[in-house]
Every structure is written in structure tokens, then in C-alpha cells.
């Protein structure tokens, strides 16, 4: 620690920090544009010039390291004169279009020019003009003349996003921010560039011209689209969500937000929103009053329970449902005598049930990942499944974290991967088993060598590993490796409430049926909460067949979806922006939120709908006044951390018998993960949301006599689809990569297993 003085204030600060960091820590504001605490130092805007004793000229506070006894003046005549000079230069080419600029009211340049700018300009000459750029459906670069070339967006891409998609081309007065050959910015974190841009050059395309920042009400909320639990602010006007911005939380999302969380709101108020309860009578849908619909639903359930037996009832929820919703759903089912309730819709191996000592979770805190020195990631489309967490890992890699990957595809993670093993899905267990043996034998090379040499080791199982048909074996092996390396192991949760589902007990007990068996042995009645089975289930074919053959299907959904085909009652419920609720993030953090806007039309929060259903069905203990009471009952006053435990016993790891034929590898593309995201038009216009392709090794394509780009017919179970194929020589042989969760592939069967591809 060293002592410095800023504006006469004594400050003790760390050696090696910069003047601006020390000042900010002491609460002294220094004007700046290009400096950002999460980005590298560029020192190119010069706005942060300050006077330093004994220095002959003003120094940039962002790039000046502190030295013992340094005396800094941020508001001395010299400093202010320098800052005003810089401001005048910055404004020379900046258009005076604040009244029509989206950034107006929340613009760093606007604020600073009030403090440091002149009342009029001495500049008489023509201002420079920079042409607009089209960099994709999310970020608008329409008014690049406003750019002050701070290069925050460029550094964000290089350092946080992992790919330099924007750069500063040309030089001096011709310098402009652009992408390579008019390409789009495809990063799953691109929206953060909008936040970073200190002026109105990069703005939010979907939010353009919608509202002024001072007209918006802000409500704290929690990300509903991935398991990190990112803190966010929902900005609303006239009872409508107009945009979503991050709220800084250093332990979770830092100051970032994924594009999925940022732009999903565009899918909230779409044409197909369900705003009135509907029932199907004589094959025709009609809108009815809530009372009628609820009684109809209750009667349907009661009829099946009394007639065929309660075990004929099944309930399914998505992992993105709130804790309260899932708790009431399982309470309703159990109150009626059925144990068939589950939220793990894409899971295919449930053999860990009953052998697992607690709710599966990350196994360590998110912040601990930054402190780990060795990481083994098994079966994860990391960058697309957990964008912000991947950014955190990327930063840790730069500080020395070694990441190893065992997976069935080799996508660019845009970070340095120390070791990797890319194998077919059926070889995943064997590969991990070999690593476990090598770790036990203290081998010094490869993945095992990396893990053995670490002090803070973590093994994380991704979505793909959790959905894998031998998930329990992978979990057991991960446990072995973690034990042998004195490390931690856990799961990168798939959905916002993947931990919450277990805490809410929305999983079957010993007698109950899990999500897969409820579909394999169809029930007579189903209750679906937020579920779009053709997209959310591990095996859409089977799921749709089961639902179509059921006597009664009660759908609680925010949207009129395919349920119109198979449901009997549609109950309009509120998405996360319109209801209060709780998500338990993958690290076990319990975060409650309130509704940001009123439910649309006659939609109601699902916990209220389930409460009334409970009352109508005369199930005990359904008198809740608020969602908080439901939450408290679900949590039972115990700290959630006690219930989190990944330990597993009694699972035998078996040598794999290789299946004949091509094996399917499925990712759930980033913008098809849940109902809201699927409806967000801007997200659906991104490159990530393009129609899925069939990816195979080029030799495999040769074997079936097709060339990359041609259409192929893919068949699985009773369905087949025609899609274009592409060669990916990084895929293992014998593997077909084809996305799940997308309408174009919904006709296919299970996410894993054999699949046939032939010439179309």
C-alpha cells in the first residue's frame, strides 16, 4: 500500500493501481470516456487529464500509476483547462443532434459537456461524417458520426467477448469503427457494447426511438433465461417492458448481460400471447371466463384421479419456471395423490435419482470459478449455454486458469483451451473414465496432468453432460476426479431455476414417474407449466404422441402455441416480467423479484392460478396471500446451501457398448431455449438463430455421397426432416450434429441416439 494525495485528500491505495482507480475508490470523480474498469487501458480520449505535482504537463489519470507521495489535482486550473481543451476537441466533430439521439439523457458526452464544454463552438469548418454501418439486428451503428473513437467496443470484443468483431480502421480523421468487410457482430454478448458506448454511436436497435431514459421506470429483476442468475433492471413505460439492462453484481454477472437476457423481452408481447383463458369443446377453442376455465380444468383432473387413479396424472414444468410455481405444481399433484412431477425435460438419464445426496448445483460459487486454477468442462456448449459465465472463465484463463474440455463437438470457445478430447457421445463415459484413471495414477500429461498439477480444481458438467444418456455415470466420474484432485465438481445448470426445481421438490419421489417415463408410458392427464413439449423435451416425438393420446391436457402458458392441437384448457399465465417469484441460480443463490409490469390482458401469475386450482380441488394448504409466503413454505426456513449436494453413490460405471450407425449430437441453440426467447424477433434475426444445419465430418458426407451445402434427409424414429448439411471436420466421425429445441427439427426423436442421414 502506498499513500497519495488527491485534491488534498489522503488516500491509501495499492501499489500498481492507477490514479483514476485510486480516485474512484475515494469517491472522487474524474471525467473519462475511454477508461472502463473492466477493460484494458487505452488512454486515447484524454478526458481524464489531471495535474500531478512535479509533472511538467497534465497526465491521463487512467494510465498514470500511483507513486508514493504523489499529489494529484483533479480540479486545479491546469487540470480543468486541459479537460476543457479535450472536450472542445471531442465536440469538434460530434454532431449536435442530442434531441434526436437515443443516448440523450444517459450520455456520458452530454453530461461531461455540461461540466466541461463551452456554450458555443469556435469551430467553423465542416464536421466530418462517418457512414452508418449495419452490424446486425441487435446493435445499431446508424450514427457513427457520433463516435468519439474511445475504442471501448473494440476492446470489449477483444477482451471480454473473445472475438474482435469491431475494430478501428483507417487513421487520424478518417479513423472509424467498423466490422471486417461489413460483417455482423455475432457475439452472444454484443449488447454490452451498447452499455459501454459513452455516446450515441452504438445504440440498441430494438429500443431505438421507443422512449427517453427519464420516462422509464426501473424494476430490479433476475435473468430468466440462463442459470447464472444475472441481476438486471427491467425498464418499463406505460405498463410495457421497453428494455432490459444489467445491474452490476461482481459475484454474478459483473457488469455484463448476455444478449439473450437483454433482448428476450421483445418476445413478451407478441401476437400469439395468450391473454384469455380458453377451453376446447367439441374440437373448437373458445375464450371463457377464468372461473369457467379453472373449474373445467379442475373437473378434468378430478375425473381422471377418481376414475383411472391419481397415478394417471402427470405434471411437467420447465426449468425456467419460478420456485413458487414449481412448488405449488408439485404440491397440487402430491395433494391429489400423484407423485408424477418433473422439470428436467431434456434429461434422459434419471438413474441418479435417489442416489444423489442433495440438489445438484454448480459445486462452488460463481466467483470461485475466477479463483480456480484448473477447470475441466465436460459436455458443454459453454459459450452459447452460459455466455456470461464463459466470459468470466475467459478472464480467468488470461490470469492463468487452465481449461480442459471433453465434449462431442469442438466449437470455438474464443478462449485458450489447454487440452481437449472431442469424442462421440457414446465414448464420453469412457473418455472421462480414462481421465479419472489417469488422475488417480497422477499422470503428468494431457487433461489429467493439468488437473493433477492444480491447486484449486473444478470439474463442471455442462448441459450436454446432464442430458446425456449416461449422465449419472459422468457425474460419478466427475466426483472421482474432484476427489482425487481435492477439487470441486458440479453442474452448469441448464435453466434459470434448475436448482430451484429440486428445492421446490418438483421431482418425482421413489414411486413417481420422471419426465422421460411420463412420456414413455403415457398418462391420461397432464398439467404443463410453461412447457412447449415439441421444443422443450428430450424426445419431442414421444412427448407429442403422449400428449395427443391423453384424455386431458391442461396447459399453463403465456403463449398460444402448439398446445392448440393437443390441449383441452389453456390458462394464460404471466412471464417472469409480470409476476413475482424466485429463481435459485446454479450456485444456489436465492433471488426473488417482483413483477415489473401488470400481466397482459387476463393473464395471471401462475402461482395464483395454481393456488385457485388447489382450492377448487380441495387440496389442503393452498391458502397463500403472496408469492413470498409460497417461497417461505417452499424453502422451509432452511438455508438452501444445506440442501445443495452433488455427491452421488451407487452408480456403476460401465464400459460402453458402441451403438451401430450414426449418433446424434444435439445442442439447444442459444435463442431457442425457452418460450420467450423463441419469440424475440431481434434475437431470431441473429446468426445464432439461423435454421439448424446438419453438421458432419466431410468423410461421413462423402460416405453418403453428398457435398457440403446440399440438402439431406435426416430420419429418427417416426419422423424425418430435410435440411442443408455442412462439413465440420472437427466433429468426431460417426456423429451427426443437429440442433434440438428448434421447430425445424422438432419432428425428430431423442436428442441422443442413432439417426440416419441420406441424400435428399
Amino acid at each position: 500500500m502506498i499513500n497519495i494525495e488527491i485534491d488534498g485528500k489522503h488516500i491509501e491505495t495499492e501499489n500498481g493501481s492507477t490514479v483514476i482507480e485510486a480516485a474512484h475508490k475515494a469517491g472522487i470523480a474524474i471525467p473519462h470516456f475511454c477508461y472502463h474498469k473492466k477493460l484494458s487501458i487505452a488512454a486515447n480520449c484524454r478526458m481524464c487529464l489531471v495535474q500531478v505535482e512535479k509533472a511538467p504537463k497534465p497526465l491521463p489519470a487512467c494510465a498514470t500509476p500511483v507513486t508514493e507521495g504523489m499529489k494529484v489535482f483533479t480540479h486545479s486550473d491546469q487540470a480543468v483547462k486541459a479537460q476543457k481543451g479535450v472536450m472542445e476537441f471531442l465536440l469538434i466533430n460530434h454532431p449536435l443532434d442530442c434531441p434526436i439521439c437515443d443516448q440523450g439523457g444517459e450520455c456520458l458526452l452530454q453530461d461531461m459537456s455540461v461540466g466541461y464544454g463551452g456554450g458555443h463552438s469556435r469551430y467553423q469548418e465542416e464536421k466530418r461524417m462517418v457512414l452508418s454501418k449495419d452490424i446486425g439486428p441487435l446493435v445499431s451503428a446508424e450514427e457513427m458520426s457520433r463516435c468519439i473513437n474511445c475504442t471501448r467496443c473494440v476492446r470489449f470484443g477483444q477482451e471480454i467477448g473473445g472475438k474482435m468483431e469491431l475494430g478501428q480502421a483507417f487513421r487520424t480523421e478518417h479513423a472509424e469503427i467498423m466490422s471486417f468487410v461489413s460483417g455482423t457482430v455475432d457475439s452472444e454478448l454484443s449488447g454490452n457494447m451498447i452499455d459501454l458506448c459513452p455516446v450515441g454511436a452504438l445504440t440498441s436497435k430494438p429500443f431505438r426511438y421507443k422512449a427517453r431514459s427519464w420516462e422509464l421506470s426501473r424494476r430490479r429483476s433476475i435473468s430468466a433465461h440462463d442459470s447464472l442468475g444475472s441481476n438486471l433492471a427491467v425498464h418499463t413505460k406505460n405498463n410495457q417492458v421497453l428494455r432490459v439492462l444489467p445491474i452490476e453484481n461482481e459475484d454474478i454477472n459483473e457488469c455484463w448481460l448476455s444478449d439473450k437476457d437483454r433482448f428476450a423481452y421483445e418476445g413478451l408481447n407478441t401476437e400469439d400471447r395468450l391473454t384469455k383463458p380458453m377451453i376446447k369443446q367439441d374440437g373448437k377453442w373458445q375464450e371463457v371466463e377464468w372461473q369457467v376455465a379453472l373449474e373445467y380444468a379442475a373437473n378434468g383432473l378430478r375425473h381422471i384421479a377418481n376414475g383411472a387413479g391419481a397415478e394417471q396424472l402427470g405434471a411437467l414444468a420447465t426449468g425456467g419456471s419460478t420456485l413458487e410455481e414449481m412448488y405449488l405444481l408439485q404440491k397440487l399433484m402430491r395433494g391429489m395423490g400423484s407423485d408424477n412431477v418433473d422439470f428436467r425435460l431434456r434429461q434422459s438419464d434419471f438413474s441418479a435419482d435417489g442416489k444423489q445426496q442433495g440438489a445438484p448445483w454448480l459445486g462452488l460459487s460463481v466467483a470461485d470459478i475466477s479463483r480456480a486454477d484448473r477447470l475441466l468442462i465436460v459436455g458443454s456448449f459453454l459459450r452459447k449455454d452460459h455466455p456470461v459465465l464463459a466470459a468470466r472463465i475467459r478472464q480467468a484463463v488470461k490470469k492463468g486458469l487452465q481449461v480442459s474440455l471433453i465434449h462431442s463437438v469442438d466449437d470455438d470457445q474464443q478462449m485458450h483451451i489447454a487440452h481437449k478430447a472431442i469424442v462421440a457421445p457414446d465414448a464420453l463415459v469412457n473418455t472421462l473414465s480414462q481421465v479419472a484413471q489417469a488422475v488417480a495414477a497422477k499422470q503428468t500429461e494431457g487433461i489429467a496432468g493439468s488437473l493433477v498439477s492444480g491447486e484449486r480444481v473444478a470439474v463442471l458438467l455442462g448441459n450436454f453432460a446432464q442430458q446425456h444418456p449416461q449422465a449419472a455415470q459422468l457425474q460419478t466420474l466427475a466426483q472421482q476426479i474432484a476427489n482425487a484432485t481435492h477439487g470441486k465438481f458440479g453442474f452448469l445448470g441448464e435453466a434459470a431455476n434448475s436448482v430451484g426445481g429440486y428445492i421446490a421438490q418438483a421431482v418425482p419421489g421413489a414411486k413417481g414417474l420422471n419426465a422421460a417415463s411420463m412420456m414413455a408410458s403415457p398418462r391420461k392427464a397432464y398439467v404443463l407449466l410453461n412447457v412447449e413439449p415439441e421444443l422443450d423435451c428430450a424426445n419431442p416425438q414421444q412427448a407429442m404422441a403422449a400428449l395427443q393420446s391423453a384424455d386431458t391436457v391442461i396447459v399453463l402458458s403465456a403463449y398460444k402455441n402448439k398446445a392448440l392441437d393437443y390441449a383441452d384448457v389453456l390458462l394464460p399465465i404471466a412471464p417472469f416480467t409480470e409476476t413475482s417469484g424466485t429463481f435459485i441460480s446454479t450456485e444456489g443463490r436465492v433471488q426473488s423479484f417482483k413483477g415489473a409490469v401488470k400481466p397482459l390482458g387476463e393473464a395471471r401469475p401462475a402461482w395464483k392460478v395454481l393456488r385457485v386450482l388447489g382450492n377448487l380441488l380441495k387440496v389442503d394448504g393452498f391458502d397463500f396471500d403472496t408469492s413470498e409466503v409460497v417461497r417461505d413454505e417452499a424453502l422451509k426456513g432452511v438455508d438452501v446451501s444445506i440442501k445443495l449436494n452433488n455427491a452421488i453413490t451407487g452408480v456403476e460405471v460401465k464400459a460402453e457398448v458402441s451403438a451401430a450407425g450414426m449418433q446424434r449430437v444435439s445442442d439447444v441453440p442459444i435463442y431457442t431455449t425457452d418460450a420467450v426467447v423463441r419469440r424475440s424477433a431481434p434475437l431470431q434475426a441473429t446468426a445464432d438463430a439461423a435454421t439448424p444445419l446438419v453438421w458432419m465430418h466431410s468423410e461421413e458426407l462423402n460416405n453418403i455421397g453428398v457435398k457440403s451445402g446440399m440438402n439431406v434427409k435426416v430420419s429418427q424414429g417416426s419422423g424425418s426432416v430435410k435440411l442443408a448439411c455442412r462439413a465440420d471436420d472437427k466433429l468426431p466421425k460417426g456423429v451427426v450434429r443437429i440442433a434440438a429445441g428448434h421447430s425445424a427439427t422438432a419432428a425428430l426423436g431423442a436428442m441422443f441416439g442413432t439417426i440416419t442421414v441420406e441424400r435428399a
Binding site: 474482435m164 478501428q168 480502421a169 487513421r171 471486417f180 468487410v181
Partner: protein
């Protein structure tokens, strides 16, 4: 795709830098491409990026920053006339006017037959010879007079340059 000759030259250049600093060779690599093709297209930049393990945009930044890289065809013989202060004081304005008249093109243009390109340049650090121009960024011709320019152009026409 980069040609065999270009990659050989880049490999030689790479030996000057540490193995994990391949991007240090980017300027040389772009120069080799330009020497071979006369210009650097975005495809070439992407190829250089792939070869050196760089981000494409980072190569683009370099290629657009330095004006000696041709982003469009600049003719078989590119004449770069210095128009900075010393040369201007020594009459580079006349040099430019004479060249423009003689070749029938303006600054930044290429003759219809694709033989000559005329371009404005920055100080070449040889003001003692002002006014001056460079031929294809390689050969410097100083103390220009109309007679000298005529000779240079005639030599180039005759393939003697």
C-alpha cells in the same frame, strides 16, 4: 489462399519473433502479398489472419492504417509523390501537376491501361532530395524535374525500371 512464395517469405520473417508472437509479422506478411498481387484484398487479409493466428479485424486495422498498402489496384507502377511540407516548398505541387497532366489521371487514380498509378505520400525522410517520389514503395527518385520525370516514365514504359 496465400501462395507458396508468400508463406515461405512469412515463415522466414516469423523467425525474427518469439513463437507466441506471430502477429509481429503482420506488416511484412501484408507487404509480401502486395508485392505479389499489387494489392491486398479482404480475402488476403483473412488469409494472413488465419496464417498468423490473428483476428481478421486486427489485420484489417493494420492494412487500412498504413497508406502504403494498396486496398485497390494502383497500377503496375505506383508513383507516390510526397506532398508534405519540405517537398511542397521545393515544388512538389508542380511535380504533381506535371504527372497528372502527363499521365492524364488525378491523384489516387490509375491510367486506363493499368500501367501507372499516382498517389499522394507522406514524408519519406529524404527532404534533402525534395521534391521526390517512390516507385512501388521500393525505389526513391529525388530532385525531380520535368526532364527527370520524363526519363523515369520512359524507362518504366520501356521496362527498364
Amino acid at each position: 489462399m496465400l501462395s507458396q512464395q508468400v508463406t515461405t517469405l512469412i515463415d522466414k520473417e516469423l523467425k525474427k519473433y518469439p513463437a507466441d508472437q506471430r502477429q509481429s509479422a503482420v506488416m511484412a506478411a501484408l507487404r509480401f502479398v502486395q508485392d505479389e498481387k499489387g494489392l491486398i484484398t479482404p480475402d488476403d487479409m483473412a488469409d494472413v489472419a488465419a496464417y498468423l493466428g490473428m483476428q481478421q479485424m486486427a489485420v484489417y486495422e493494420v492494412a487500412t492504417f498504413y497508406h502504403m498498402y494498396n486496398l485497390k489496384p494502383m497500377g503496375k507502377h505506383t508513383l507516390t509523390v510526397c506532398t508534405n511540407l519540405s517537398c511542397t516548398l521545393c515544388g512538389s505541387g508542380d511535380t504533381v501537376a506535371y504527372l497528372e497532366k502527363k499521365l492524364g489521371i488525378k491523384m489516387g487514380e490509375v491510367t486506363a491501361d493499368g500501367k501507372f498509378g499516382l498517389r499522394e505520400g507522406e514524408c519519406m525522410g529524404a527532404c534533402i532530395d525534395a521534391p521526390l517520389l517512390t516507385l512501388n514503395n521500393k525505389k526513391m527518385c529525388g530532385k525531380l524535374t520535368t526532364a527527370k520525370i520524363d526519363k523515369i516514365l520512359a524507362d518504366l514504359e520501356g521496362g527498364k525500371a
